[in-house]
């Protein structure tokens, strides 16, 4: 379980409230239990904590003053966007301030010539594409949570979506950031060109989970909307064939815009929920979206059709119009809530593996599912190897959450073992903090801490998340061997 680092603050709660109200409207400084309650967790609701205070500033200057005040008084600060994160990244710190960016909702500037939009961090992901639609442009990364999640949160998590394989993650689609460091300094990272002077701090900030600075402005890159998009749905009697089909499409020289796989349980759940017309007798389906110019899509559709058939698909359907294309996708996009209907609770995992390891990993997961007596449904960003196993459980049955967490931890360790990673897009947060000790050795973790110290030497931003302390790993790691090495030989055991 998460235990936040204990930080000795220099100011009382009452004095802090007073100081904040000096420059932020009283209704935007929350401190009553009932007002704080809505902020107690993010999308990973198994973990909860009530913050000392929630503040909702509206200007950059106010954010600077909040951070300066907290810095001077040793108060931890946790930034929060929409709170849709799935790894507990925005979980509050009990002795700290939760800094909500919810009021930073403006799209500041759209420049169709340069194909960029400058937006505030609290703008929702989908709102950007909607605002630039009039220019025939869109913002490519499209997490399934895009109606709710904020661009600030997307940058902090380096979020992906179903179109990552072709269009990249958040890190590939942003150009400039304005951030505020813990001591209140406003920094501009990146520039108006395609690169900027010095180290790649833009990359370092992307995926930094609120640990290095608070993002107060984001300049995103926009793409022209493809002339045409077409989706194919292929059914397979065997997940191994479906996995091979993915490799075969790529071997044919085609990079699909989206390439998603669902297994039997996920197919059934989605079909019951949205009636997308999925084949219920299939062991796996692949959804393959092709986009580009009209001619290119026609050519690729017929090629991919052939490849899918040759790879053993029992059925290949091509969406006959845009409405059917959206129906095919609806099942995939609603997969999480659909699976949620099968069981009182579900736990969403997020490992990435080299694609060729898929059959072994699915097999091992099925074995673990039996061992832990918990069902798993699989949705999979197949093109880039990002797995989302959904473990079904019931939190009301004593011990089941703990068993689920242990099962989840085993899945992540499996991902590392086959050469993958514990998180493809949801972040480490507090959820995967123990598995970080398996993926990285103590030197690497220390290097991460040095990166953190370069921005936040006192460790006040989101303490205890993303990178575990070596002591935490020593406690956890007693059972684990990292790449054949003895874990943390330099630390004493306790």
């Amino acid at each position: 379980m998460y235990s936040s680092e204990n930080i000795e603050s220099k100011i009382s709660k009452a004095a802090l409230i007073q100081a904040l109200q000096d420059f932020i409207a009283a209704e935007s400084v929350l401190f009553d239990e009932e007002d704080l309650k809505p902020y107690e967790c993010d999308g990973l609701s198994a973990y909860r904590a009530i913050p000392l205070i929630v503040v909702l500033p509206e200007t950059i200057e106010q954010v600077q003053r909040v951070l300066t005040l907290c810095h001077e008084n040793m108060i931890p600060v946790v930034a929060r966007g929409a709170g849709t994160g799935l790894s507990g990244g925005a979980l509050p710190h009990e002795q700290g301030v939760l800094l909500s960016l919810a009021k930073f909702k403006n799209i500041l500037h759209i420049d169709p010539n340069r194909r960029i939009a400058r937006v505030q961090p609290g703008v929702r992901n989908l709102a950007i594409s909607q605002a630039v639609d009039q220019f025939g442009l869109y913002y490519a990364p499209d997490p399934s949570s895009q109606i709710a999640c904020t661009i600030g949160g997307n940058v902090a998590e380096n979020s992906g979506g179903v179109h990552c394989l072709k269009y990249g993650l958040t890190v590939h689609n942003i150009q400039q950031l304005k951030i505020i460091t813990i001591d209140g300094e406003l920094l501009t990272i990146g520039g108006s060109g395609l690169d900027s002077a010095g180290y790649d701090l833009l990359a370092l900030m992307t995926g930094s989970e609120g640990m290095l600075g608070v993002i107060v402005e984001v300049t995103v890159k926009l793409l022209p909307k493809p002339e045409r998009a077409q989706v194919l749905l292929a059914a397979f009697e065997d997940v191994v064939n479906a996995g091979e089909a993915v490799g075969n499409i790529i071997a044919a020289g085609i990079i699909p815009a989206g390439l998603e796989m669902m297994d039997r349980l996920a197919i059934q759940a989605a079909e019951d929920f949205v009636h997308a017309g999925y084949p219920l007798d299939a062991e796996a389906i692949l959804l393959c979206e092709l986009d580009g110019t009209n001619e290119e899509v026609s050519e690729h559709v017929s090629k991919v059709r052939g490849v899918l058939k040759q790879s053993g698909a029992t059925e290949v359907r091509t969406a006959k119009d845009d409405a059917e294309r959206l129906t095919f996708w609806a099942g995939r996009k609603a997969a999480f809530p659909a699976v949620g209907r099968l069981s009182p609770d579900y736990y969403c995992m997020d490992g990435t593996i080299p694609r060729k390891q898929l059959p072994q990993v699915l097999k091992a997961m099925a074995d673990l599912s039996k061992e832990y007596e918990l069902r798993v449904a699989n949705v999979f960003h197949a093109g880039d190897g990002n797995l989302h196993p959904l473990i079904l459980y019931d939190a009301n049955i004593p011990g089941e959450l703990e068993r689920t967490e242990e099962f989840g931890g085993k899945i992540l360790e499996l991902c590392i073992k086959v050469g993958g990673t514990i998180t493809g897009e949801h972040g480490v947060g507090m959820e995967k903090i123990n598995q970080m000790c398996v993926q990285f050795n103590s030197l690497e973790l220390q290097q991460f801490h040095a990166v953190k110290a370069a921005f936040d030497p006192l460790g006040l931003l989101n303490p205890g998340k993303a990178v575990p302390t070596l002591h935490r790993c020593a406690e956890f790691g007693a059972m684990h061997i990292h790449r054949g090495e003895l874990p943390f030989p330099e630390l004493e055991r306790f």
Binding site: N113, R114, G136, L137, G160, C164, L169, V171, T181, E185, L187, T188, G191, S192, G193, L194, D195, S196, A197, G198, Y199, D200, L201, L204, G207, P224, I250, G253, I255, G292, T293, N294, E295, E296, E299, T352, P354, K356, G385, N386, T421, I422, T423, G424, E425, H426, V428, M436, Q439, F440, L443, E444, Q447, F448, A450, V451, A453, A454, F455, A466
Partner: protein
């Protein structure tokens, strides 16, 4: 050729750390002149990575290649080409000896950069030796990986000042089916206007350049789509244009044959400040977002002009490279120094190569 000399390299760094000796990292040493000239580098001990070579893994359907840093760029490109794939960021080699490590350390990308991304965008992971002689791995061989800070990308463009690259994993892409080039005679303003109109529509443009009153556009993709795009953009069709794009990438066009200092200016594509009508000292790439300029104008003036439009200017090639890279704001410089301290506390890796303070 396949040789692992990571232990030797590590020992040399450990020793340098203990004795506080500066190290000058070299790969193919094809361009010792990129980056700042600094006295500390002149007297530095050489750390030669070029012997550390060999492709460690490559599976075309996984779209990933992992190689030791000293592997010649040419060897990697040949291997990919044999499998119908490529390094999509089209790195300039500039010399046969160029290594993949040097390429990533410089974060150099070619004509396709504006359309698919830079070297850093294709970097998935790396193994490094930091300034204390510690060997560490970050990122990995998978497309999506957000565990820990993105230290791999931090290495791209750091010019070896944060760590010695031992291995890099890169995302690769299939080569395109058809490539065609169209040419237009026009002024620089007309060229920028054309490019901006095109870039708002989904045309398969993979490169663009403008110099000596000629705009060139390269189209790459499925055959039918390239043919259709050709009709849309118009202009004259150019045969055998591959050689032109190659010479542009490798700086072998006549434009680059000069004794004058060569500036690389990166800015928003529609900026008109660095637009001189009929000025043969300018060459544009990347839809206008990259401009090469040959000039004796002092560095302060060029870099100030770039800063005024929120861009930056690098003195790319010149004998006297003191102010090579654009100055950082005090806040950013502080973060840079802290990072340098965190990776290379005794400042032994390529000291002064990027900035005098680092």
């Amino acid at each position: 050729m396949n040789t692992d000399i990571s232990q030797q390299l590590q020992q040399q760094v450990v020793q340098a750390y203990e004795q506080v000796t500066a190290l000058r990292i070299i790969g193919g040493n094809s361009k010792a002149f990129y980056g700042r000239a600094d006295d500390r580098l002149l007297s530095a001990e050489i750390l030669n990575v070029s012997g550390h070579r060999g492709v460690l893994s490559y599976e075309p359907t996984e779209l990933v290649i992992t190689a030791r840093a000293g592997t010649p760029l040419a060897e990697i490109e040949k291997l990919l080409d044999d499998n119908g794939q490529m390094l999509a960021f089209e790195p300039p080699a500039f010399a046969e000896s160029a290594t993949i490590g040097g390429t990533i350390a410089c974060n150099l990308s070619g004509p396709r950069r504006a359309y698919v991304g830079a070297a850093r965008d294709f970097l998935l992971g790396c193994k490094i030796i930091n300034g204390k002689g510690e060997i560490m791995s970050f990122g990995g061989e998978v497309m999506k990986n957000v565990a820990g800070y993105d230290v791999s990308r931090l290495m791209a463009g750091a010019l070896g000042t944060l760590g010695v690259l031992l291995e890099v994993s890169l995302k690769v892409l299939p080569k395109t089916e058809m490539v065609k080039t169209q040419l237009f005679h026009c002024s620089s303003i007309e060229a920028l206007n054309k490019i901006h109109n095109w870039s708002q529509t989904p045309l398969p443009i993979s490169a663009s350049s403008f110099h000596d009153s000629v705009l060139r556009i390269r189209l790459s993709g499925a055959a039918k789509s390239v043919q259709a795009a050709r009709d849309t953009v118009g202009g004259e069709s150019v045969d055998n244009a591959e050689q032109y794009w190659h010479q542009l990438k490798e700086h072998k066009l006549d434009f680059f044959a000069t004794e004058k200092p060569l500036w690389r200016i990166s800015l928003a594509s529609d900026i008109e400040t660095f637009t001189a009508e009929n000025d043969s000292n300018f060459l544009y790439e990347w839809g206008g977002a990259l401009r090469w300029l040959k000039t004796e104008t002092p560095a302060e003036i060029i870099q100030q002009a770039a800063a005024d439009v929120d861009g930056h200017a690098i003195l790319f090639r010149h004998s006297e490279q003191q102010t090579c890279f654009q100055a950082l704001s005090p806040g950013l410089l502080r973060i840079h120094k802290n990072l340098k301290q965190g990776f290379d506390p005794k400042n032994i890796l390529n000291p002064g190569k990027l900035y005098p303070e680092l």
